[in-house]
Subunit: 506 residues, 2 copies
């Protein structure tokens, strides 16, 4: 076999889904495997034409793959745009320069702007393995990135993805710092603001560590995986959209980081700021409203932390050319009645339709935010925003706009219902004086949210409600019996998800 032939193999689609972690498979009797000294878990440079990726190697027995081939996982196949018959060249990857910056960071050095850019570019180009990404996330966790480094990270993420431009002079946007179950204001704010004539091309994320992200909830009602061209069409027609940011490819590094953050169940401030602001700049936004709910079990727990985050957001935003307004809101209780994609979608629709029993807390929050955004408009005077928002909602214009947006995004969908349910009741009489949002969220996740769209929690009582022993507190919804049992078991492990203070004072 010629030297070149030795290095030439044909692609083979293995039909193995390794998620966002490109894997290639070589037979243990493959000459290249031996000649190059490849062994699991080597990192291998994989080239097709002038495209390349780095992938993790898994070595397989001859039975499961034809000779002369290199097996591709689904993700490797996708990112290399492989086609049957393609020739693959394999080689040892040159050491990644940016990994030495990461090691420096771990050992206490600060990352420069150039170094951060190189790390983020390498991540966006799929050159980091999950091990490297986990190390980067850990090294940059809370408090480990300085303000300058957070700015570098934000700029690096902006530079890495695509950037949208719009004809309109003013592009508005909003973002809510998560952690408050059921807080789906985006799906109300966008139609209100768009109906008022402002342009709001909203990209949302999927859940990272929560039972639903806005993209997950919106997906219950309409397609959200729109590419940039499709998204632009929707916005040109309807002034607004609610799509998944990942599909829009505005911040490819962020999408890769998020999957590992999710596995580590680790959020972090700098990452969050960079992620939010970079996506706003990339989406072409000029004016952004940021909502920070504060509560003992919300993501931000104290007013002090919220003020710190507000200041950091404002500072970094200014330095990347964005105008931001930050609202600090009450995050002590879940918003609406549903937690989980379908159940939250139900709340949103009830508010849009002005149904009598629609959750008022969700409605009020949405009006506050929409009002503040409307005041970005030079045509709307300060103090008049909320009133305008309310009129648009009550007139049915917001509901009409929402339906139009869903249609433009690919067609409105019916909300699914869960097959399996389990009711949790109050163990004693009294007033609900505390709700543990974190545990509620984790029960909803145990029930299958956000992957199972209909799974989650339906709340029957909220903070400051007075209940009698045996009264309904919440219902767990699940799509399988296994998931339901699992979530119910989760409830048993936890006391005081809703803390009830009895009449006797305990």
């Amino acid at each position: 076999m010629s030297e070149d032939g030795l290095k030439t193999l044909y692609v083979y689609r293995m039909g193995i889904d390794t998620y966002k972690n490109p894997v290639i498979f070589l037979r243990e009797d493959c000459e290249i495997c031996k000649a190059e000294g490849f062994a699991a878990p080597s990192r291998v440079r994989v080239e097709i034409g002038n495209r390349f990726i780095l992938a993790t190697l898994q070595v397989v027995k001859p039975e499961i793959m034809p000779y002369g081939r290199v097996g591709f996982s689904e993700y490797a196949w996708e990112i290399l745009s492989a086609k049957d018959g393609d020739i693959v060249r394999l080689s040892h990857p040159a050491p990644l320069e940016s990994l030495s910056y990461l090691r420096g960071k771990i050992h206490g050095k600060k990352l420069t702007e150039t170094q951060m850019q190189e790390i983020i570019s390498d991540i966006a180009n799929n050159l980091y393995s999950n091990i490297h990404i986990a190390s980067f996330i850990t090294a940059c966790a809370n408090g480990n990135l300085s303000r300058e480094e957070t700015l570098h990270l934000t700029r690096a993420m902006i530079n890495t993805g695509k950037i949208l431009t719009w004809e309109q002079h003013q592009i508005v946007d909003k973002h809510c710092i998560g952690g408050l179950p059921g807080n789906r204001t985006t799906m109300l704010v966008v139609p209100i603001v768009a109906a008022a004539g402002l342009t709001i091309p909203k990209t949302s994320s999927r859940a990272i560590t929560s039972p639903a992200g806005t993209a997950d909830t919106m997906e219950v009602l309409a397609p959200v995986k729109l590419n940039l061209a499709e998204m632009r069409k929707v916005v040109e027609r309807e002034n607004g959209c609610i799509v998944w940011g990942g599909a829009a490819d505005l911040s490819p590094a962020d999408d890769i980081l998020i999957q590992v953050e999710r596995a580590l169940n680790l959020d972090n401030e700098s990452q969050a700021i960079a992620s939010v602001l970079s996506k706003k700049v990339s989406a072409g936004s000029t004016h952004v409203l940021i909502d920070i709910p504060v509560g003992p079990t919300a993501k931000v727990r104290s007013h002090e932390d919220a003020e710190h985050l507000k200041e950091l957001f404002e500072d970094i935003a200014k330095r990347v050319g964005l105008i931001v307004k930050v609202l600090i809101s009450n995050g002590s209780a879940p918003v609406g009645r549903g937690i989980g994609p379908a159940l939250e979608a139900r709340d949103v629709v009830a508010v849009l339709k002005n149904e009598e029993d629609a959750p008022q807390d969700l409605r009020e929050r949405a009006l506050d935010l929409a009002g503040a955004i409307l005041e970005f408009s030079p045509k709307i005077s300060k103090g008049d925003g909320r009133h305008r928002a309310q009129k648009i909602l009550e007139s049915g214009k917001a509901w009409k706009k929402f339906q139009a947006i869903c249609k433009a995004q690919g067609g409105m969908r019916r909300i699914p219902h869960a097959k399996y349910k389990h009711l949790i009741t109050a163990s004693k009489s009294g007033m609900i004086i505390e709700i543990d949002n974190r545990t509620l969220a984790s029960i909803a996740k145990l029930a299958g949210a956000p992957r199972s769209k209909a799974a989650g929690i339906e709340l029957h009582a909220t903070l400051n409600d007075v209940v009698a022993a045996g009264d309904a507190l919440f219902t767990i919804h699940a799509e399988s019996k296994g998931a339901l049992e699992y979530a119910v078991r989760g409830v048993c492990f936890e006391h005081d998800i809703m803390k009830i203070k009895g009449n006797n004072g305990c």
Copy 2:
């Protein structure tokens, strides 16, 4: 299908080597996959009988696996001791309590002894994915573990593995902090000390980030994968052994951590101390000599760092009941002539055989260390150790003992030679005033060391040698043409691997 039937699948060995990272494979049309909401890269609890592991899920197309089966990677198969026909139960794993301690650590809290123990036990029991392990290693990297935490880590590692006990009152041992290519003193010290009648059951590690560990080099000459019973037999017969610590299962957590450290190319002080001392205690050692070579490109770069490390070693050792003596030695140049398993083995044998051209630096270092260890013996007076060691080496007793140990470990082997070589010559005349050990090591790794045993670097010149332009500096050895080219390319990228000061002063 019954509820139980739904959860029952039979094992299927996929023939996929995913290294120390247990993976299971489910068909995308598998009911359990759907019912439980499993999707790549879920973590899944996998039970056979009363044994269980957590594994990462990869989802596969129906074509590549029979129906009603769950595919096992080689490592999953091994650690669950699976047999054909075994029934597997799959479920969602309960959240690992210890991951919340890890998150606490990342956010700046200290780990208590109990928390550290739980993390290390979970790692040893294969409950952490590579993502979690990478996060743990990064969170505990240099400077991030306090002295108390380092002690906790050491104790946790001792408690997690097996502990050897010996009849002898005194068990001696040695360890060298790596980073000095070619420094294979263990393979000289063990036979000298054993020949003197002391008991030295030496377990060594494989390379973490270097081109060869002592276990890799010893494996060139004899089997090193001995279990504890086999190791004990060797020591009972010959007073000493040189085996791979991983096979001895003395510190299972450490073996798992090391594979991820290698991928991150990240060493750390606390991890190193815990790893070394826990293995010594587990091996039943009472008296340990630790060698810290210091040099500008060695692992420890300054005398100050070495003194710090010495003090830390002595303190932690005392608190886990070990007597240690620490030597700080000169680590400015590679030791011996070979870098890489086979080439280093050649140097060792030359010294043992008292060959005239044997590398004197390796010989002198080994005698210093062996002498210091001999002085642990109550029968040998202080100051007399080195002389005794020299006599044993010169008399041929050490060589005889080494051969006996190799035989007892399973039979002495011939040293392999590399097929492909490339000579690097001096670009100008002058004196070699600096050698970059780190780059030398990385070139040896590019050539294939330690996986390719014969690969590495053969040095023809060393520090303070005077060379003429065109004189041989070193030869790269490789087992494949590809690896050789790759290493040669690596040399081209680097200047001054050996810095030559010309007669004209530059």
